[in-house]
């Protein structure tokens, strides 16, 4: 599992920093480093480009895991150089950006777009396998998520556009329902497809409004 990010166009980053003159850059040593979007070398390149664009870079660091609580300690440790800036540019996924913003009152800007939490399917090839819907249907779909892997989130697929194992929406991606069908067939479970999957409760997903969770400890 890895958070998939890509760098925003430099012009967009400059636009975010339009009113700022001094920037502190934070990268992330985990996902963004693996994907070459916010590791040390990308941070240094960003520093150079910002300086070329006339910004002062007061300092930078690559936090081991920007979304982690330890980010707080890292921010405290570097407080002096951070405070010399009037903004922080975070080269981490949106979790990292929001974690930094959570611990510090300064202006925080994202340098990356966060795409999805990816699963590595083949070397260097990541796919979206779950949108955290809060009401998992994998039991009836042979372990393949139809909500994110079928372009129409069909619960009763495959649609009439599934041809040759490919999705009608994009011939480069497989039809999720063909995979589901093949897996169920191999497991001798095709009869399960006769059941009409009922209309679902999207209230547990992001559609239901902001979500939160409280851990209940066993001695409570």
């Amino acid at each position: 599992m890895i958070t998939i990010t890509e760098q925003k166009p430099f012009e967009e980053i400059l636009q975010s920093l339009e009113k700022n003159t001094a920037v502190y850059i934070i990268g992330c040593g985990t996902c963004a480093t693996m994907l070459h979007t916010g590791g040390k070398s990308e941070v240094l390149t960003m520093k150079e480009r910002l300086e070329e664009a006339g910004k002062k870079v007061t300092g930078w660091m690559v936090i081991p895991t920007a979304c982690d609580q330890l980010t707080k300690a890292a921010l405290v440790e570097s407080a002096r150089t951070i405070q010399e800036a009037d903004s922080i540019l975070v080269m981490a996924c949106a979790f990292g950006v929001q974690t930094v913003g959570f611990y510090i009152e300064m202006q925080v800007y994202p340098a990356l777009n966060t795409l999805f939490v990816g699963k590595e399917e083949g070397p260097g090839h990541f796919i979206d396998v779950c949108m955290q819907c809060g009401n998992c249907v994998l039991a009836s779909t042979a372990g393949i998520c139809p909500l994110v892997r079928c372009a129409k989130s069909l619960l009763n697929g495959p649609c009439g556009g599934s041809v040759g194992g490919k999705c009608e929406v994009n011939p480069d991606i497989p039809c999720a329902w063909q995979i589901i069908y093949d897996r169920l067939a191999a497991q001798g479970r095709l009869v399960e497809l006769d059941k009409i999957e009922p209309i679902r409760d999207w209230g547990t997903s992001a559609s239901g409004g902001p979500r939160w969770f409280n851990v209940v400890t066993s001695d409570e």
Binding site: C159, G160, V169, Y181, I196
Partner: protein, 305 residues
């Protein structure tokens, strides 16, 4: 009778039905719908009005249907699941019934990626199977999806689509059975060019007895040009056009005439297929050809019930 529409009467009386399709304008003119409706009204039993087909914004299906109604045409309102959630869909269904629309065809919808608003957010709150089921529940149990009661009658003749040319082929009959179980009263299929495959599908349909439970209308598309045929073969989801048809069009002296002759030959063969109850002519943008096709296919005059 479930809705008492002309389409329902024709099909339930065991006659071979003919339907056509009208694409609403990318604008607000009712005259366009009227003109297209006038073109086909005496040649067909009911007319589909597409719902933002290929994800291109057009006048709404419900409005198009209401306009056709004023001409005395029996409209079939298409609903796709791409743009509206269950709240909007159920509300549109009630509105359609209030306007006298009785046939509703349930579809998933083409993905917006290919339309003229590719950056829009898709809905897909429910899928076409669930939509069929929801409409049946509204009609037969007087219930909304939530379980709450609908006031008044909800007379709908429920339609659904089937594509015998999609994969996996073995599942295509099972999927039809699912739609019938969900509540489909009639089915309009994807365009038939590969009659052999269609025949095999219909055999399996009849073997399961589904032809007794649902009325199947085979889709037919007149071909305007070789370019259109190639485009459909390469870019229209779920349509398969055998190479010999393309070759025939390429070699024809008058491609347009050939483009009518081919569907006519297909209709001839379709008429012989046991269990088939009608044809659905999809000549969107070429509505003027519909009367000619129906006449030359020997399907005129249309019965008056």
């Amino acid at each position: 009778m479930k809705a008492g529409t002309n389409l329902e009467k024709i099909l339930e009386s065991g006659q071979f039905a003919v339907t056509a399709e009208v694409g609403p304008p990318k604008g607000s003119s009712p005259a366009v719908i009227r003109r297209r409706g006038e073109l086909v009204r005496n040649s067909v039993d009911a007319v589909n009005v597409t719902d933002n087909q290929t994800a291109v914004v057009r006048m709404s299906s419900v409005a198009g249907c209401a306009i056709l109604k004023t001409l005395g045409v029996d409209p079939i309102m298409q609903i796709v699941c791409r743009d509206r959630n269950r709240i909007a869909i159920q509300s549109d269904v009630l509105g359609a019934i209030a306007l006298g629309i009785g046939n509703i065809l349930c579809l998933s919808g083409d993905h917006q990626r290919f339309g003229n608003h590719p950056t829009s957010k898709s809905v897909f709150d429910i899928d076409s199977m669930q939509l069929i089921q929801a409409l049946k529940n509204m009609r037969d149990e007087k219930q909304f999806i939530s379980g709450e009661e609908v006031s008044g009658e909800v007379p709908i003749y429920i339609g659904a689509a089937a594509n015998p040319f999609a994969d996996p082929f073995e599942f295509r009959v099972a999927r039809l059975a699912k739609k019938v179980k969900a509540g489909a009263d009639f089915i309009q299929t994807q365009a038939v060019y590969d009659v052999d495959r269609f025949r095999r599908w219909m055999e399996a349909v009849c073997e399961r007895g589904l032809d007794k439970e649902v009325h199947i209308l085979a889709g037919v598309i007149p071909i305007r040009s070789v370019g259109m045929a190639r485009y459909m073969r390469d870019y229209v989801a779920g349509v398969t056009i055998p190479d010999e048809i393309i070759t025939r069009l390429e070699q024809a002296e008058k491609a347009k005439e050939e483009g009518v002759r081919i569907p006519l030959e297909i209709i001839e063969q379709l008429k012989e297929i046991p269990g088939l109850h009608g044809i659905h002519i999809m000549a969107v943008g070429w509505e003027d050809i519909v009367p000619e096709v129906v006449e030359r296919a020997g399907l005129l005059p249309r019965p008056v019930l």
